[in-house]
Structure formats: C-alpha cells, structure tokens
C-alpha cells in the first residue's frame, strides 16, 4: 500500500485555499497553486485506472483545465476542493474508456492486495490473500472500485461520495456493506 506521505501537499489552510479559488475564478494564473498542490494526487488516481503514463498525463491536464473552466461552479460547502477534482477525474477516465470503446477497468495490484491482507491476518496471510483475490473477482466492479478507492488509494468517504455522486453517509454505508459482503465471501471459502 502506498503511504500517504507520497503527496507533496503544501501546507495551506482551507480558508487560504478558498481565497486562492476565489482569485483563480477571475485570474487563472492563481490556479497554479492549486495545481501544484493536487497534481500528484490526481495524476496517481488516474494512473491507477489508466495504467499508461502518457495518457494519464493528458487526462490529468484535461482534469485541471476543466477545473479552471468550471471553477465558478465549485461550491465549497458541498464538497472539499480535492474531492471535486476527483469527481472531474473520474468522469474524464470514464469518458476516455467510452471514446476508446474500451471497457472501464478497476485495477487492483496484487502487491497492494497482499499488503492489505497481511495487515488483516499476519499468520494466514497467504491463504487470506488467495481467498481475497477470488472474493474480489466475485464482487461487482463497482464494489471493487469503492474498495480500491477506500483501502488502496486511501480516499476519505467524502471524497468517494463526490466521485460517485452520492452523499457521504451513503458512501460510508456502501463501503460497510461491501466489506461485509467481502468477509462473507471469504468465510465461505
């Protein structure tokens, strides 16, 4: 699992971030601070789904350019700014798959899954890993996407909620149910 400290997020407060957004609405050069702040997060999120560096680079710049254009529509009370960016990124990814007439894929790297299962059960990690792998394949891709976002990308429920277009509470309940389902599948094996 990748550590959270991989992201070079500058230390600005939410209030300062909001001030930057307000300025960037009128003058996009102010947006650069936000770009600097969230580039890696968004890039990695896209890379994880697309798994092709150059395309990821293109889609990432599309995400930020759309954010600039639609910045006036952003409402901070509704969702944190980063979650709003994730929402744009997810749409861009789906659009990319649609344009390519490719089926959208949720990737789960074996190593990440292995790390995840090790944390759950150190002793029976090999067995659990095999079971978890099979169980994940039995879940719907939508469910796997949520697991992937929550446990492998370590997004917050609020961020997931915005990506899926649901409420934060709904995202929390969905995650809980999927985990429950995953446990049941593993226990049956």
């Amino acid at each position: 699992m990748q550590g959270q400290n991989q992201y070079h997020i500058s230390t600005i407060t939410q209030e300062e971030e909001w001030e930057i957004i307000a300025k960037a609405i009128n003058d996009p050069k102010h947006f650069e601070k936000l770009y600097e702040r969230y580039f890696l997060k968004i890039f990695r999120y896209i890379l994880n789904r697309i798994r092709e560096e150059q395309i990821t680079s293109e889609i990432t710049s599309d995400v930020f350019s759309k954010a600039i254009i639609n910045l006036h529509k952003y409402r901070r009370k509704e969702v944190p700014f980063v979650a709003w960016l994730y929402g744009i990124a997810r749409n861009e990814i789906l659009q990319f798959f649609r344009k390519q007439k490719r089926e959208a894929v949720v990737f789960v790297e074996e190593e990440k899954l292995r790390h995840f299962t090790e944390e759950l059960d150190e002793v029976n990690k090999e067995e659990l890993f095999t079971q978890m792998k099979k169980a994940l394949e039995q879940l719907s891709p939508d469910d796997v996407e949520i697991i992937e976002m929550k446990y492998f990308q370590q997004l917050s429920h609020k961020e997931i909620a915005n990506l899926l277009g649901v409420s934060e509470e709904n995202a929390r309940v969905k995650t809980f149910r999927i985990i429950k389902k995953l446990k049941e599948l593993v226990n049956k094996m």
């Binding site: 307000a22 009128n26 949720v106 074996e110």
Partner: protein, 526 residues
C-alpha cells in the same frame, strides 16, 4: 466495467510523475476549450503570460504578416477573441484602479453581505470597460436606444460592466460605489444609462453632469483633497482621543488602604484639583510607609507648606520650611468603618473607569483604521496619477496635458452595465440598396455595423435597413459584418459607391491573426 487483479506492479516515482506537471499546458487547454465553448471569456485577460500562451496556441499562427483576405479556415470569429473582463479584489473604504485607468471608490459600507452587513473582507468583482467601437461590437449588449418610437445609436463616451463573482453580495443604495470612468471623450452632450437585462433595453438614468472643464486633472485633485481632508479629520480625532485618554488615566480611581494604627499618620488639607483621585476620600489621611525611616521629631515642626506627588501606588509628601524640605513616602488610608463603606463605591468607580478606557481604546483602534484607509486612498490616487498621467497632476498646478480627458462619474447602487452616451440618428446624406457578398456568395450577417472612423461612431444596421442603407460619404466609413457563427468581415472602399443606387459590398474576411480586441482595433485603425 470489470475487475482486474494484476501481477504487474505499476510503479512510478514521484519524480517521474512530476515530469508530467506542466501548468502552461493546462492553461492552453482551458483557453482553447473556453474559446470554443463560450464567447464571454471572463477571466483570460488576467495575465499577459496567459494571454501570450493563448494567442500562440489558439491561433497556431505564423509570425505577423500583412493582411490578405483570409481563407475560410483562417477566418476570424468573434468567438476567438478573449474577453477582457478584469477581476478586481476590492473592499469597503478603498479606491481601486482598473487596468484601463478608471477609479472605483468604495465607501465604508458600499458592499453588503446577504444579511445586509458591511463586508469586512476583500471580495472579487468583475469589471469590464468599453471605450471603443470594437469593444462595443464585441459586447453582447445592443448599442441602440429607443425613445418615442425612434431608434437612436449610441455614441459612447465610455461604458462598463460591474458584477460580483458572489451572487450574495449587494451594493448599499445608501452608500453607492462611485465609478470614475476614464472617458476618452470630452463634451457635455452625454446621458447616463443602465442596461435592463430583463427588458433587454437601456434605461435612461440622468444627464451626465460632468462639466466640460471638469477634466481628469481636476477630478483627481478633488478626490485627493477629499481623502486628505478625511485623513486630517481622522488625525485630529485621534489626537483628541489621546488627550482624553491621558486625562482619564489621571483620574484612575484609587482605594485608600485601611489604616494601621501603629504607624504615623498625617492629615493634610488636599487641593483636589491636583489630586482628583482623592476627592472621594475627604477623611483620608496619609500613613507613612514602614520603610520610610521617618523622624517623628519632624512632626513638631511648623511647616510652611506641603506638596504631594503620586509615585506609582504611593505618594511622596514634601514638607517645605524656608529653604529646607523633607520628603516622606506615604499612602492614603481610611479607618476601618470608612474603608468598608468606600470599598464598594470604589469598585463601581473602577468599573466605570475601565469601561471608559475600553471605549476610548476601541475608538482609537477604529480611528487608526480609518486614518490608514485615508492614507492608503491618498496613496492610491497618487499612484493612479503616476501610472496613468503623462504629467503628474495631483501635486502640481499643471492641467494642460489632461484637458481633454474626463473622469465621468457614475453612482452605482446595483450591479450591471452602465453607459455614458449621446444618442444619434442614422446618417441621411446618401442611401444605397445594399447587398453583401463574400467572394461570389451572398453573405448573411447577424449584425452589420456602419462605423464612422473619423467620429469613432458606430451604427448598428438591421436587415430592414439594407434596402435603404444610409451613410455619409464625407465620413471615413467602414462596414463590419458578423455572421451567425461569429465570423467577421469588412468593407471600406465607399468611394466605389459613387452615385450608384444599388451596390454590392464585397466583404473581406478578417484573418484570425487579429483575434484580440487590441489587434482588431489596430487592424481597423479605430
């Protein structure tokens, strides 16, 4: 969507990922998308760097070249021209200068929040100025005015849009914003109008009362004098408060101690003008401090007079007789019964004192803020003068260079589009049945503008006038046409019309290399 669990680890270091970071590309993409989707480009004029990226990327142009009729795929559309709306961060009690050299003056409560309270933080406003025929053509607002069934065409002495990024912000009608528009036209025959977005027409506000001799130089001097007067007033007020505070501090209530019967006491006939804090304690006596090394024999001396001076929490009593003097440190004291009774009264007096000092402190903070604002505003006017005026007028008795420039003042109590205009009728010197073509094809225009370049005047021509297209052959005429898709064409050789009754205006497409208001103005020499 399907699930894939992969063996292959896809790893990219931060350094490798960061190689893909390129903010210029993001801006270029945004600029292209914005240009393709929306004519009203509100923010791109924010920085010249951004604009430079936009022009080089959007137009994909070779180096500057002389104009030739643009091939179809190189035809300028108004949609390509970035909007030059300016984003301003403004706050109450400030004077803000726009990039086109106008001033916005905000009173202390000009901008209100949704609850009607004066804003205390800066907010973003959009401001756009129109000074030129090209600005007016690019503007979506019609430049005609109907009065009593007659259509008049605006000869503008300046126009602007003022809007708020945040819809909840309002302008206080009791303290409107003063917009001093940097008008390029002198003269007194102008009226002020506001555009009514709902009715889609202009509403007459008033005659523009800017006197013809009220030049930019005079307006600036007046504004500076007003702000300097505010500054002086605030300085006076602050000085008064300082004096008042000093006086009050002299009267800070004290509570005499309860007497210690074992110590030496002195009863004095106090002048309460000198020691007002003792006025409440007529029975107070001075008790000599224990460490005073007091000589009791001195009490038998008949002294000429005694002075008392406060020294922190105690007093220094100085006894005089002829040339000799004797100092005794002492504190005022009361007997037990008096002390108990006075203590409560002292607490009340102390509370009142604290409240008075607090209110003076608050007033001082408030006055200091106002003083800073007034100073800042004076500095803003001087800065404006330094930046905009070839001869710096505000501190000099020189007006010559500024005689033809006017700051036209609008009192703005709501957001919208305002105009300072002189309504004109269409020319009637000559008429021609007009047809418009591009190459050999009939051209269909959304709008045709007849421009009198020598007068910097523009008429909006509708299809209904094409059969009897009016113009004045003595003027330097130009026709600019904009078709449904925004493509811009022009015609300027009016001498070819001569005395013909029918005429085909062979419109030339404008090359897309002129995709900015500035370059288009230069191209048309407007």
């Amino acid at each position: 969507m399907k699930t894939k669990i992969e063996n292959n680890k896809f790893e990219l270091s931060d350094a490798e990922a960061l190689k893909h970071k390129n903010f210029d590309v993001v801006i270029q993409k945004a600029a292209l998308a914005k240009s393709a989707s929306k004519f009203n480009w509100k923010w791109i004029a924010g920085g010249t760097g951004v604009l430079a990226v936009l022009t080089s990327t959007l137009l994909l142009l070779p180096e500057e070249q002389p104009y030739t009729a643009a091939p179809a795929n190189n035809h300028l559309s108004v949609k390509m021209i970035p909007d030059n709306t300016e984003g301003l961060m403004v706050e109450n009690s400030s004077i803000v200068q726009t990039k086109d050299g106008s001033l916005l003056v905000f009173e202390e409560n000009s901008l209100l929040d949704k609850n009607g309270k004066a804003l205390t933080k800066p907010v973003a406003l959009n401001f756009k100025e129109y000074h030129n025929v090209i600005d007016q053509i690019l503007c979506k607002t019609p430049m005609t005015y109907d009065s009593a069934g007659t259509t008049y065409h605006f000869e503008s002495a300046g126009m602007f849009d003022l809007s708020s990024v945040n819809n909840e912000i309002k302008i206080n009608p009791e303290a409107p914003i003063k917009v001093m528009l940097n008008s390029k036209k002198n003269g007194t025959n102008y009226n002020l109008y506001q555009y009514n977005e709902d009715a889609k027409n202009w509403k007459y506000l008033s005659k523009d009362n800017t006197p013809s001799d009220y030049t930019k130089a005079k307006a600036l001097k007046d504004l500076k004098a007003k702000e300097e007067s505010k500054q002086k007033n605030e300085e006076k007020e602050l000085q008064k408060l300082n004096i008042e505070k000093n006086q009050k501090e002299q009267e800070k209530p004290i509570l005499p101690h309860e007497e210690n019967k074992d110590r030496f006491h002195i009863k004095l006939d106090v002048n309460y003008k000198d020691l007002p804090e003792l006025a409440y304690f007529k029975n107070a006596r001075f008790e000599v401090l224990p460490n005073a090394n007091f000589d009791p024999q001195k009490s038998k001396v008949v002294w000429d007079y005694v002075s008392a001076k406060k020294d922190k929490e105690s007093y220094v009593l100085t006894f005089f007789k002829g040339k000799s003097q004797y100092e005794v440190p002492a504190v005022p004291v009361l007997n037990k019964a008096e002390y108990t009774s006075e203590k409560r009264k002292y607490e009340i007096r102390m509370n009142a004192y604290k409240m008075t000092i607090d209110s003076i402190n608050e007033a001082q903070i408030e006055k200091s803020k106002r003083l800073e604002i007034a100073k800042k505003n004076v500095a803003a006017i001087i800065h404006f003068d330094m930046v905009n005026n070839p001869i710096h007028v505000v501190d000099e008795n020189i007006t010559g260079a500024m005689e033809n420039e006017v700051l036209r003042t609008f009192t703005v109590s709501n957001f919208g589009t305002f105009n300072c205009d002189c309504p004109n009728k269409l020319p009637k010197e000559q008429f021609v049945k007009a047809e418009f073509k591009i190459d050999t094809n009939k051209a269909y225009f959304r709008q045709v503008y007849l421009v009198e370049r020598n007068k910097k005047m523009m008429y909006t021509m509708y299809e209904s006038t094409f059969g009897n297209f009016p113009f004045n052959p003595k003027n330097d005429n130009l026709i600019i046409g904009v078709d449904e898709s925004g493509l811009v064409s022009f015609y300027e050789d009016f001498s070819a019309i001569s005395d013909k009754k029918d005429f085909t205006f062979k419109m030339k497409p404008v090359n897309r290399q002129y995709a900015s208001a500035k370059s288009l103005k230069e191209f048309f020499n407007l």
